[in-house]
């Protein structure tokens, strides 16, 4: 059985997703594990979009931090060569209009057709949705990063989402610390086991049906 720290797990997933990206492309990174993906992208022609209004996001040195230059997680970022700023309506037109190649998002649950839940938990007040629903309907490809199981060990890949869904659209790929899945014709298909992981472990920790 695999045991690793939460940070190691997040970096493992982020590194694997980054390997999936091929330039030239425009990528939107969500909060959490997706933010870490930037650390592992090395192609010069992968451009990052942030929905609060910047195409051409880079990291920033502490000394260069500008409080009015942030990403969607309100973290300080830098401005790449060739960057542009735009208002929120233009930014979401880019997203809904299919002009962003890949959105990398976190999820709370994924069902076996690739539909995800990532914005609300039942029994709590629903207080925020942000850009999650727009990215789901609009990005050409959606990649999901998440831990394979919840804190209590239960599978996050379910037959059906229990939490409210974010969109009826199926995502394209799912990356966990145990495996990589793709979604083809509304079915999950195992494409890769992470290092040291066995198919038996994945089967034991996955409620959703999947092809292997």
């Amino acid at each position: 059985m695999t045991t690793m720290s939460k940070t190691d797990m997040q970096h493992l997933i982020a590194k694997r997703v980054a390997a999936e990206l091929e330039g030239p492309c425009v990528v939107n990174l969500g909060i959490g594990i997706p933010t870490l993906v930037a650390e592992y992208m090395n192609a010069a022609d992968i451009y990052m979009h942030t929905e609060n209004g910047l195409l051409g996001v880079t990291d920033v040195e502490e000394v260069d931090i500008d409080p009015n230059l942030v990403n969607a997680g309100k973290l300080p970022v830098g401005e790449a060569i060739g960057a542009s700023y735009f208002n929120s309506s233009d930014s979401f037109a880019m997203i809904r209009g299919g002009h962003v190649d890949v959105a990398i998002l976190g999820a709370l649950q994924v069902d076996q057709t690739g539909v995800i839940a990532n914005w609300a938990v039942p029994g709590k007040n629903i207080m925020g949705v942000g850009g999650a629903m727009d990215l789901l309907v609009g990005a050409k490809k959606v990649f999901v990063t998440m831990s394979h199981t919840s804190k209590d060990g239960s599978s996050k890949l379910l037959k059906k989402c229990i939490y409210p869904i974010t969109s009826t659209r199926s995502v394209d790929m799912i990356f966990t610390e145990l495996a990589v899945f793709e979604v083809v014709d509304k079915q999950l298909r195992l494409v890769e086991l992470m290092p040291g992981v066995t198919i038996e472990e994945v089967k034991a920790k996955t409620e959703a049906d999947f092809l292997s």
Binding site: P67, N68, F92, A120, V129
Partner: protein
């Protein structure tokens, strides 16, 4: 008559109880901090505030919230201020949650004289409940109504005295949209210049949208919000 004033309460004189007020910003970034503070000092109530967030706990719009001046919030991410959840739980505030892109487009539509628009965003989810569905070319869309308001409080980088505006980096966000969607538009800026000083090719908000201009008295710095 000059659009420029140095008196915050003078600038806010058009805001009345019961008004719908657009407030720019993505959290505190690009929020009209001086005008928001002015609103906390003004005797108004029952406001409907349209803003991505309702500030942070005890900051920005968070102060107005704690003064019970907000009857309803329309936004996309109230999670950033835990007080909003508490007020909602006690039934002290109404909330309308919209996807961020829908909020932005509803403002654009409002400013452009449209009644609303059909979007795929949210279709088939809990946020589509009660909204009209329509199939167009085999795709399911939901109808979202445009947003128009009595007053917009926005933040820009520079204004000329006519009211032409340019913005600064990601502090732009909802501000240019809100500038178009209210009967009265009040802007606070870092710098006020003479007409002709801004390059016409670079002006983002043309002057016809803007009614009142004031120099920002509070600015967001690396160290937080400071008085200038």
């Amino acid at each position: 008559m000059s659009k420029v004033t140095s008196d915050i309460q003078d600038a806010l004189s058009c805001v009345e109880s019961g008004h719908t007020v657009l407030v720019g910003g993505f959290g505190l970034i690009g929020a009209p901090l001086s005008l928001i503070e002015g609103l906390t000092e003004k005797d108004v109530k029952d406001l409907t505030i349209v803003s991505n967030n309702l500030g942070e706990s005890g900051k920005g719009l968070g102060i107005l919230l704690n003064q019970n001046k907000i009857k309803k919030g329309i936004g996309s991410y109230f999670t950033s201020n835990r007080d909003v959840g508490d007020k909602y739980q006690k039934g002290e505030i109404e909330l309308e949650l919209l996807p961020q892109g829908t909020l932005a487009e509803a403002l654009r539509a409002g400013g452009a004289g449209l009644g609303g628009f059909y979007t795929t965003t949210g279709a088939g989810t809990d946020l589509a409940i009660g909204k009209e569905e329509r199939e167009i070319d085999g795709i399911t869309y939901i109808f979202e109504k445009a947003i128009r308001a009595d007053v917009a409080l926005i933040r820009a980088h520079k204004a000329d005295t006519l009211g032409n505006l340019i913005y600064y980096k990601t502090a732009r966000n909802f501000n240019p949209l809100m500038a178009t969607a209210a009967k009265r538009v009040i802007v606070e800026v870092d710098e006020i210049v003479e007409p002709g000083a801004l390059n016409p090719e670079e002006i983002v908000t043309p002057f016809l949208y803007v009614d009142t201009i004031i120099q920002a008295q509070q600015v967001l710095t690396k160290e937080g919000v400071v008085n200038r």
